[in-house]
């Protein structure tokens, strides 16, 4: 990827992070930590990778996206807003009564959400169904999903993993946001999912390990996924929970709490400085 494209994507990811902070601050609740950790992946998918059209959010041949870790909705909404699905200003309505931006994504509220999600472990199954539907129809669309590293404790994830490999769903890519933290502590402390790559590999998946915050690595992984036939791809993305906001990074308490006014100002100032650096 050339330097300019990378810079442009980095700017968008920075704006997405500001959107996450804006949304959770106004909502006085939500999940900033695991939203900030997937900003680059979502930015790359929505701005470089996926065949989508914000003006035709349900066009039949679109690529599909399922946020299996649905609590990271603030990140999805922010990237969708910046991609043109709805005004960025609307991010301030997150979690409020009558908002289209429900606490967890709902396809009935917001066009562009390919399926409602949030109850962990269920999104990947729906993604399998979409990938299977695409194959049946002979459509070329691809299906992307993001799982949390805590989420893969759900047995259903492995039911789906077994199924996707058995049905050779090579049009399916599952990211695992490996930020190493879940509500009750580090993932090792709670109920270790490690080693993650070996688990997916043993289920018959093509496995790629990347730095979740590197656009180059995201791009290379998605290219490899496309070139891989006969099996689904799992991209294990090592990430930093709370990435981009200094006091939120690697802090488990930012899994599910919103910044107060002072923290909001600090976070936005930090992100604005990063943006200015990218623009300068």
């Amino acid at each position: 990827m050339d330097l300019n494209s990378k810079k442009e994507l980095a700017k968008i990811a920075c704006n997405v992070r500001m959107g996450i902070i804006e949304g959770t601050f106004n909502a006085k609740s939500g999940h900033p930590g695991g939203s900030l950790s997937i900003a680059e992946i979502l930015t790359y998918l929505y701005f470089k990778e996926m065949n989508i059209d914000p003006d035709a959010p349900v066009k039949a041949d679109r690529d599909r996206f399922v946020l299996s870790k649905g609590h990271a909705a603030p990140a999805l909404y922010a990237v969708m807003a910046h991609r043109g699905y709805f005004p960025v200003e609307e991010l301030k309505t997150l979690r409020k009564v009558d908002s289209r931006l429900q606490g967890h994504p709902s396809m009935n509220y917001l066009p562009g959400i390919d399926i409602s999600s949030g109850s962990l472990g269920q999104g990947i199954s729906a993604a399998c169904g979409m990938a299977l539907g695409g194959k049946l129809k002979g459509d070329a669309f691809r299906v992307y999903t993001i799982l949390g590293d805590g989420e893969i404790g759900e047995g259903q994830v492995w039911e789906a993993a077994m199924y996707a490999a058995a049905k050779k769903l090579d049009n399916l890519v599952a990211f695992v946001d490996n930020n190493n933290l879940q509500i009750d502590g580090t993932v090792e402390e709670v109920n270790s999912p490690y080693p993650i790559p070996e688990k997916f590999a043993s289920f018959g998946w093509n496995v790629i390990e990347i730095d979740a915050h590197s656009f180059d690595e995201i791009e290379a992984a998605l290219e490899k996924a496309k070139a891989t036939k006969g099996m689904p791809t799992a991209i294990i993305a090592k990430s930093v929970k709370g990435k981009g906001v200094s006091f939120m990074e690697n802090q488990v308490n930012w899994h599910g709490s919103a910044p107060n006014a002072e923290q909001y100002e600090t976070a936005i100032a930090e992100l604005k400085a990063v943006l200015a650096g990218l623009e300068g």
Partner: protein, 314 residues
């Protein structure tokens, strides 16, 4: 007297799926390693390219069904009632019903009449579970004719449907030209003293009970409530006002099923005595299905008894 045709509603389900598959290329069928028992195997044989076995993973099956539905297919997902409504409750609730997707759940082996497999597989809680989900339609056919009609109606309905089928062969009640409409109760017999509202295999028992009661000079209004949700409230209110007392009969726990649904309406609209006949908040056990139905009071004799209790409360 001509021999009565006896067919399990699960067999009618399998046949109806094949019929549907011939007419509608948009129909897919999923199963979780029970195709031989749920009778989706018939569809698998006829349309192998439109049949998908998810293996023993009902939660994933419901999610896959939802995902397929978002790509424009009408998807039938089948397993036993215990695993469709029980194990996969939350997947049905969150990934099928919340987004209101076109997934039709074909739940077989409902109730005590599973027989020898015993309590672990005798689901008497599924109606209660499914009733509690917003927007879910629940169909509980009484014979093979009605089971076929339910499948054909389900596919025309926009949104999720839970269809409840049995393992046990039950007598045919309806004619081939039987008209079925979701949410519309069927009055099988008019009467003035007591109303019997039955569903599923209890409809046939209710017909037998009505004969006994009539012979004793008790006039029975008999209603087949094939749709538990949305319940035909008008039919319930009309019957309550007409006869002044009601007996409900279902092969399901007395908690949360047809009886409760009827009580909800009667309590609010026209309070009259309602006596609920069902499984008395207990687990089943192994044994031949017909024997078990008698042991658990799911028969015509018990309906007669309950009808007299209802009459005494008027």
């Amino acid at each position: 007297m001509a021999d009565v045709i006896k067919t399990a509603t699960r067999d009618a389900y399998g046949k109806a799926l094949v019929e549907l598959g011939e007419k509608n290329p948009n129909v897919l069928v999923l199963d979780a390693d029970l195709a031989a028992a749920t009778k989706t195997g018939a569809f698998k044989k006829a349309f192998p390219e439109r049949f998908f076995d998810t293996g023993i993973a009902e939660g994933n099956m419901m999610g896959v069904a939802a995902g397929l539905a978002t790509t424009g297919y009408t998807v039938f997902a089948s397993s036993f009632a215990m695993f469709s409504a029980g194990r996969a409750f939350e997947q049905v609730r969150n990934t099928i019903a919340y987004p209101h997707l076109n997934v039709k759940i074909g739940a077989t082996h409902a109730g005590i009449s599973v027989g020898e497999d015993g309590a672990s597989h005798q689901c008497c809680e599924d109606i209660a579970l499914m009733r509690s989900i917003p927007g879910m339609v629940i169909l509980n056919p009484a014979d093979d004719i009605e089971a076929r009609a339910a499948v054909l109606a389900a596919v025309e309905h926009d949104g999720p449907v839970y269809m409840r089928f049995g393992r046990l062969a039950v007598p045919r009640i309806f004619d081939e030209d039987y008209k079925f409409e979701i949410g519309k109760a069927v009055t099988l017999k008019e009467g003035t003293d007591v109303t019997i509202i039955a569903t599923g295999l209890m409809v046939n028992e209710a017909i037998e009970a009505a004969k006994v009661l009539e012979a004793e000079g008790i006039s029975v209004e008999l209603i087949n409530m094939h749709t538990i949700k949305p319940l035909d409230k008008e039919a319930v209110i009309k019957a309550a006002k007409k006869t002044g007392c009601i007996v409900t009969a279902e092969e399901h726990n007395v908690i949360g099923g047809l009886g409760d649904a009827v009580c909800d309406v009667v309590c609010e609209e026209c309070p009259v005595p309602v006596v609920k006949l069902g499984v008395e908040d207990t687990f089943g056990k192994s044994g031949p299905a017909v024997e078990l139905l008698h042991i658990f009071g799911l028969d015509a004799d018990n309906i007669v008894k309950k009808a007299k209790i209802a009459l005494s409360k008027k």
